[in-house]
Symmetry: C2
Subunit: 412 residues, 2 copies
């Protein structure tokens, strides 16, 4: 297996340059899809692609592709990630995967010339739901033909605008979205920051992802009866707060009991009427519950639903939920995972084969290509914050794994 030399300084410079578009505070980024700063960032990526000797193409949703044509016909090997950010987010989430792909292709072209098979780097749009909640994974959904015909005029941003209007404002025609679909991809590799503490805890620079966790979001409504906090005796209350607290504690405990890699988070609670001296009428909370194993995730859901129903029944509360998000686990391509492990091992880059606890564009790309991911260490496990940070040495170790795998696939 061939080693590819990666330029630390180039990686560092690209991180800082990209972070200037939508800079937020000292180290943050606020870059929502189709905003002026997002357009400027995509233009910058396009200019890097040109510098790298790649042919630039922008597809119908605004994904920027840089292509290095192979000498032989056949399906494409692609890598990339997204440049939209949380509001605010940091410099690494998504951005580092775009940089990695461009840097890897540049290094491969400079060091090995034209490949046998075609390589592409891509900068995807709206992975984070930065501006349009329902448009999450917009770029990778366009590539995999997963955008419904009515979405552009139906999906509205946090300020009420449609995504169709936002596209038109940057010169894109929403009716042409189907043209972004690709049926010629063979392999997809996404490099991304870990967003968790596991690699740091294990003092490893790189993770090879065997599965992207399944994610289900419940929005649970517990309805009781509002009462005066003083005048209604405890034993005759129908208190949705007491019920919700028992459910929240219960669903979290179930994930703890199942042990790693099961996780469950209650991140959002809304209380009606939310007044100190009133037993609430209704408590609404979210349950974000995840597991990378397709069988285990079912057990997790079943136990949590049973617990919530039984608490409601015992306490005389009405309960209902909806499930606005339900992504099954995405098990990565086993031979591609093995190839990534092999390239890391050969280059003596210490790694852990692990799952991803977060969702990624790769979940969609896996429908169109053999797919896997490379993680690099996140300091303190932080992400989705201006404080997220990845050491350049760790980033470069990840890019070396990526570049060597692309070499193996495209040049051998």
């Amino acid at each position: 297996m061939t080693e590819v030399t990666i330029d630390n300084e180039l990686v560092e410079r690209y991180v800082l340059e990209l972070a200037q578009h939508g800079a937020h505070g000292e180290t943050g980024v606020w870059r929502t899809v189709y905003s002026p700063e997002w357009v400027a960032a995509q233009d910058l990526v396009a200019s890097w692609c040109v510098e790298a000797g790649l042919t630039v193409r922008r597809d119908a949703v605004g994904n920027v592709w840089g292509r290095l044509d192979g000498t032989a016909p056949g399906r494409v090997i692609a890598s990339g990630s997204h440049i939209d950010s949380q509001t605010p987010g940091g410099r690494y989430d998504g951005a580092l995967g775009v940089i990695a792909a461009v840097v890897a292709l540049r290094a491969l072209r400079e060091q090995f010339g034209r490949p046998r098979r075609t390589l592409e780097a891509v900068s995807l749009c709206e992975e984070e739901a930065s501006r349009f909640h329902a448009a999450r994974f917009w770029g990778s959904r366009a590539i995999t033909a997963r955008i419904e015909r009515d979405e552009p005029e139906k999906i509205r941003g946090y300020e009420g605008e449609t995504i169709g209007d936002a596209m038109r404002s940057v010169g894109l025609d929403p009716t042409r979205i189907p043209e972004a679909a690709r049926d010629d991809l063979d392999t997809w590799i996404e490099l991304h920051i870990e967003q968790g503490p596991i690699l740091e805890d294990e003092q490893l620079p790189v993770g090879i992802v065997w599965s992207i966790t399944g994610i289900r979001h419940y929005v649970v409504e517990v309805l009781g009866r509002s009462d005066h906090a003083g005048a209604r005796p405890m034993d005759t209350r129908l208190d949705p707060m007491a019920g919700a607290a028992e459910m929240i504690l219960g669903v979290i405990d179930i994930a703890l009991e199942l042990g790693r890699p099961a996780v469950t988070t209650v991140g959002k609670v809304n209380v009606e009427p939310n007044l100190a001296p009133a037993v609430p009428e209704q408590v609404t909370f979210t349950v974000d519950t995840r597991h990378p194993d397709p069988v285990e995730i079912q057990r997790l859901h079943q136990r949590q639903e049973e617990l919530m129903r039984s608490v409601a029944e015992r306490r005389g509360l009405r309960i209902s939920w909806n499930i606005p998000l339900d992504l099954p686990p995405c098990v990565c391509d086993a031979s591609l995972v093995a190839l990534l492990e092999q390239t890391a091992r050969t280059q003596q880059i210490p790694f852990l084969t692990m799952h991803s606890g977060a969702g990624h564009d790769t979940q969609n790309m896996a429908a169109a290509a053999k797919a896997a991911m490379i993680f690099v260490q996140s300091e303190g496990g932080r992400s989705h914050t201006p404080e997220e940070f990845t050491k350049v040495e760790h980033a470069v170790e990840g890019i070396r794994v990526l570049a060597a795998a692309l070499h193996q696939l495209a040049y051998q």
Copy 2:
């Protein structure tokens, strides 16, 4: 003991007339202190006092007093309640106690002429914190000289105005507030709707209040560490939501275990950042905890504080709280309670001697006079809502107890 005849129709008419000022929807009232509708309502009460043959006086904060001078010198026997409302509230909370006092004094004057001791009816202002949170019990605090000199210019309403400005806008001079203080009161009786379900459950029209519950409000901040909902393993989290849920369940369970009349309510929860896919950084919740017994309430506080501290410690969370409200139980005057019980018994009005789970102006008036309260049944235990309702027969039974007690005190 003498019976006093109370006119059902007059009571019913007064309830409906008063509810027209600040009417909200079909049965609601939205009447904030010093608003035009509040001024109109106080004017109406003043006109009733005139009709009843009372001498009307408005004090320095706008409380309206109707006086029936006694033939003998000596301290005053007074009754009343407040006419400001929740936003929105109903027709009965507070208003019924003002109507009761005017109707009782009118009936006494009509049926028994001039009393030996002076009687007064009063319509107090801003019991509910209808417009100025920190001005709660404004009227009764003025009477008992409990308003600090800097409060008028310091206390701001929900729209930012000071209470001093609001007073000036209705022709009151805040610098004269000390003139509202009374040092000549002997006895205070407040009639009020129960605001809870106990009298309805027991099918009784009237309650005689032996103690007004002590109320403490905690605002508890539980600080953990925000993390990605997928990428951070459960066993390394510092999840303030799990901790808060355990505390909420725990403090509620302690009150349940202690049994009636202990009550504890968690009515308000705020989560930072309140996002479904993020372990929260901080969860803030209120604990409203009440007991009418001065010894038992201490035990309640101690057990709840110990529980919260131990949960935080075990989970590695930081916890702090402040106590924005801390009213000790107000035990009513025992001989006055006995007199009210006797007047109810003599008139064969079924009653329960009970505590008040809610706060009332009487807590302040008790500093200046022997004080007690009369409750009348609330349909469904409802209050602080446009749906609150008290049957006129129940209201009149309560007023008969009040009038007979005033007769006993002022005419014997």
